[in-house]
């Protein structure tokens, strides 16, 4: 459950707008990356009380990330990254996130020097029970997602070519050459989908080249790549944002699956549609 409305707790609580702590700061900031299966949240937070920080270090309290869309989902935060499978939570603009700090044992406050002056005379008597809430952060919600397209492919017509089709890895793009205009299906509706098999082959070629240029023994560790061309730069960005860590001759298809959005299914569906609509 996310605390969205102000409430008065019967003991000192750390939140951005309760006055129990002198330095009442509990800020949350979240980044998210995703591929076809997973969301990865990178959580940054700022706690204004050393007392609370100490409790976490000593495992007397823990930080929980609450993701609330239709249901609430609690996940303990260790480190600052959390991966959540897409089939367990779906993010939309109604999704909210908040951090809670929960006591893992009964906590006494006699040595809590971060409280506001009001508590000075009562401090020795304050006790917060196990599993009670010690702090809650601000709430963050999603903005509308922004889809950033990548111009990875260029097409060209070359009627003097010896082969029907040719795929070249260029400096900035993967170039597909067609010998005849109709090979692009240019007169058919949804022709861009009909070209998906070429795109798949193009990606395969480009990734193979990427391995040759950057790998050792057919393996590339994505984090350590220094791209040599604009195209490699784009591919690298794409793979990083889809959380690919390793590219090898053996996992090229898996990587393509992650960095594209249903490329084969869209191809199949457009063919089916044409078959149904055909007169």
């Amino acid at each position: 459950m996310i605390y969205k409305k102000d409430a008065n707790f019967p003991y000192p609580i750390l939140s951005n707008h309760a006055q129990s702590y002198e330095n009442n700061i509990f800020d949350l900031d979240v980044d998210v990356m995703e591929n076809n299966d997973t969301y990865r949240f990178t959580v940054k937070y700022d706690i204004g009380s050393d007392f609370i920080k100490q409790l976490i270090t000593k495992k007397k309290a823990r930080i929980l990330l609450i993701v609330q869309s239709k249901d609430s989902k609690f996940t303990e935060l260790e480190g600052n990254e959390i991966e959540i499978n897409k089939n367990r939570v779906s993010l939309d603009q109604k999704t909210s996130l908040q951090l809670h700090i929960q006591a893992l044992s009964d906590i006494t406050f006699y040595d809590n020097h971060d409280l506001s002056r009001f508590y000075d005379q009562f401090k020795d008597d304050i006790k917060v029970n196990k599993f009670n809430l010690l702090a809650y952060s601000n709430v963050v919600t999603f903005d509308a997602p922004y889809k950033k397209p990548f111009d990875l492919f260029e097409k060209k017509l070359d009627e003097n070519m010896k082969t029907d089709i040719k795929i070249e890895i260029g400096q900035a793009t993967i170039n597909i050459f067609y010998r005849k205009p109709e090979y692009q299906f240019h007169t058919l509706p949804k022709s861009q989908y009909l070209n998906h098999p070429y795109i798949y082959i193009g990606l395969t070629k480009a990734l193979q080249q990427f391995i040759i240029n950057n790998g050792e023994d057919g393996e590339v560790e994505i984090a350590s790549v220094e791209p040599i061309s604009e195209l490699e730069n784009k591919l690298l960005d794409l793979m990083k944002s889809k959380m690919i860590e390793e590219l090898t001759v053996d996992n090229i298809d898996e990587v393509i699956h992650e960095i594209t959005d249903n490329v084969i299914e869209k191809y199949v569906r457009s063919i089916e549609e044409m078959a149904t609509n055909g007169d």
Binding site: D6, P10, N16, G48, L91, Y119, T141, F142, P181, I199
Partner: protein, 640 residues
């Protein structure tokens, strides 16, 4: 010889029965349903337009009436009762008629036009003069249609021919009336009924009956119409024609289908303000046609799913995608010009061209051979010359351009040439659009398969701001939200005015907000109620008591106040408030004002007589055994 012994319905007598079936057109029009009926009648009205600057108005009405109010109903019943079917289809139809004629209350539909000429020459009765349209309409059928094929020159005239049978087909007993008022304000009523050839009292009769008077002139029988002295729905008082269909078949009694038929076939006429249609209490005119077309109650709105009905696309194309250059189409001996409206959209799954007559009626959803699944939509409207030629190519029900009904060899091949050239001209446009939208060279469109998603979180700031009125009329903005200190600092630097009219920074908001009373109005009549922000409250629960402190020293609202009541309302984690659930008198043993050391009174949900010392309130509340210590509260202050 015609039987004129006082029967209002006249059937020509014949020697013997030769044909035992109903008119073939009936079945075909019945198959076209509401669409066929609406098209035939509105088209007739459009052809009879009177003014260039005023739309033809067609009023379609459906309703109920007494069967006995149908003119000459007894004659009809007598005839229908003696009909004999000689094949299964005819038997079935006659049985249906026999059942329906027994009804007392029946449904009817009428089409009444205004701003039209109406029929002329009714007073001349049955003539063969072309200028007497009454005579043609009332006493002939197929006058135009069958004759046109024989001549290169003759283009079918007005369409008052086979079309009339569309109205017969809509009646359970195949009867229809037409009520005319001409420019001389002469009012006449005629009618036709389509039965089968039959015997009555030892005499054989033709299948078609006419509701008409007749006179013997120089030994020959001549039909003259009855003067219209009938009541609603047969009356027609303004110039124009009214078609009345009694015994309306259930299948036609469908307001939605009528609205759709009107929009489907006549959207151009209506948008050009050549036509306005009233369907019972609904009006479709140039100003609101698009509302009907964009209403998903009538039309599928997703372009991908428009597979049979294309009207919303046509309307969009017609209104928004005119092509400057005319479409020129050649036949063997002529060039015809069409205005073209053309849209290319990858989402379209069926490509169709609406072929429209000059009067604005759609003839056909034309499929360009081989291009029926191209992603385009087009509307073509012929000029007058093209229109006349198109008319000669229409099939009997005006729903298709074809050469099938043309028997003259030259005309037929000319028509083929024309239709092919029309296809070719549209094809060229489609090809050009496809070329333009699918460049051979350049960046490939992969934006829906290769992309990254950037999701940003935002801090839930001041989400629920609302203005709370304070008694004397000044406005406070209630700021809710979880903005952090960090941001507060940023905002403070910028000196922005986000917190509302008071222009104070958020962390300096007035710690009190005025609250309108809910329910318990009595108290508030005397006292002003304020809710408190949590930041002004310190609450500390100890073993058997709690300390509660409010600091309102910053509040202007409480200046000069020395005493108040504190109201407690329980709040749950989601922010939901339960104002009457918590009773202080049963949960607290006592409440001690730590400022004075005095006991305060506990009364239902409030602590009264609490002293305010320079804006500070400090209370010690001693718990009863039953007190639930984990409750959270919202506090209200009530001030005299």
């Amino acid at each position: 010889m015609t039987d004129i012994n006082n029967n209002q319905w006249k059937f020509t007598s014949i020697e013997n029965i030769e044909e035992s079936h109903f008119d073939r057109s009936l079945e075909r029009f019945f198959g076209m349903g509401v669409m066929g009926l609406v098209r035939e009648n509105i088209q007739n009205s459009l052809d009879g337009y009177l003014y260039d600057d005023k739309p033809v108005i067609v009023k379609i009405k459906t309703g109920e009436m007494k069967a006995t109010d149908v003119p000459g109903i007894d004659n009809l019943t007598e005839r229908i009762n003696v009909l004999e079917g000689r094949n299964n289809y005819t038997k079935e139809t006659i049985k249906h008629m026999n059942e329906k004629i027994k009804q007392n209350r029946i449904r009817y539909m009428s089409f009444e036009d205004e701003n039209t000429k109406g029929l002329t020459g009714a007073e001349n009765g049955q003539t063969n003069s072309k200028s007497d349209t009454w005579g043609i309409y009332a006493y002939n059928k197929g006058f135009h249609f069958e004759e046109e094929n024989t001549s290169k020159e003759e283009i079918r005239g007005g369409s008052h021919g086979v079309g009339k049978i569309a109205s017969n087909a809509a009646s359970d007993i195949h009867a229809m009336f037409f009520s005319n008022c001409d420019d001389k304000n002469q009012k006449h009523l005629g009618g036709t009924v389509q039965l089968v050839e039959h015997w009555l009292n030892g005499q054989a009769y033709r299948s078609t009956g006419y509701f008409t008077d007749a006179l013997r002139e120089r030994g020959l029988l001549k039909y003259y119409p009855y003067k219209n002295e009938y009541d609603h729905p047969f009356r027609k008082d303004t110039r124009g024609l009214k078609i009345i269909i009694p015994f309306l078949r259930e299948e036609y009694d469908d307001q939605t289908a009528i609205v759709k038929s009107v929009c489907d076939s006549f959207f151009v006429s209506i948008l050009k303000n050549k036509l306005e249609v009233h369907i019972n209490d609904q009006v479709i005119n140039k100003d609101n046609l698009t509302e009907y077309v964009l209403d998903n109650q009538y039309y599928e709105q997703s372009v991908e799913n428009m597979k049979d009905v294309f009207t919303p696309m046509y309307v969009d194309t017609y209104l928004n995608y005119p092509i400057e250059k005319d479409l020129a189409v050649e036949s063997k001996d002529e060039t015809y010009h069409f205005k073209l409206f053309f849209k290319y959209d990858e989402k379209i799954s069926k490509g169709r061209t609406a072929i429209i007559r000059t009067v604005g009626m759609k003839i056909e959803d034309f499929k360009v051979t081989g291009y029926a699944t191209k992603p385009y939509n087009a509307v073509v409207i012929g000029d007058k010359k093209a229109d006349a030629y198109l008319k000669s190519l229409e099939n009997e029900s005006h729903t298709e351009i074809s050469n099938k009904h043309i028997s003259d060899k030259y005309l037929k091949s000319n028509a083929t040439r024309f239709i092919n050239n029309l296809s070719k001209a549209i094809k060229k446009h489609i090809d050009d659009a496809i070329q333009e939208n699918n460049q051979m060279d350049g960046i490939m469109d992969t934006e829906d398969i290769i992309y990254t998603v950037e999701r940003k979180f935002k801090n839930d700031l001041q989400k629920a701001t609302e203005t709370v009125r304070v008694g004397n009329g000044k406005a406070l903005r209630k700021t809710k939200g979880n903005s952090s200190k960090k941001e507060k600092r940023d905002k403070a630097d910028a000196g922005t005015n986000t917190t509302g009219d008071k222009g104070e920074k958020r962390n300096k908001r007035d710690p009190l907000k005025f609250k309108k009373a809910k329910g318990d109005g009595k108290v508030v009549d005397e006292k002003q109620r304020y809710s408190t922000y949590p930041e002004t409250v310190e609450r500390l629960r100890l073993d058997d008591h709690e300390i509660l402190q409010f600091d309102f020293s910053n509040s202007k609202l409480l200046t000069g106040v020395s005493e108040c009541d504190v109201v407690l309302a329980v709040i749950d984690g989601t922010g939901k408030e339960y104002s009457d659930e918590f009773k202080v008198d049963s949960n607290f043993k006592r409440a001690i004002d730590l400022g004075t050391g005095q006991d305060c009174r506990l009364l239902k949900n409030k602590i009264t007589d609490v002293k305010v010392n320079n804006g500070i309130i400090k209370l010690r509340l001693d718990y009863n055994q039953s007190m639930n210590k984990s409750l959270k509260f919202i506090y209200y202050l009530e001030v005299e």
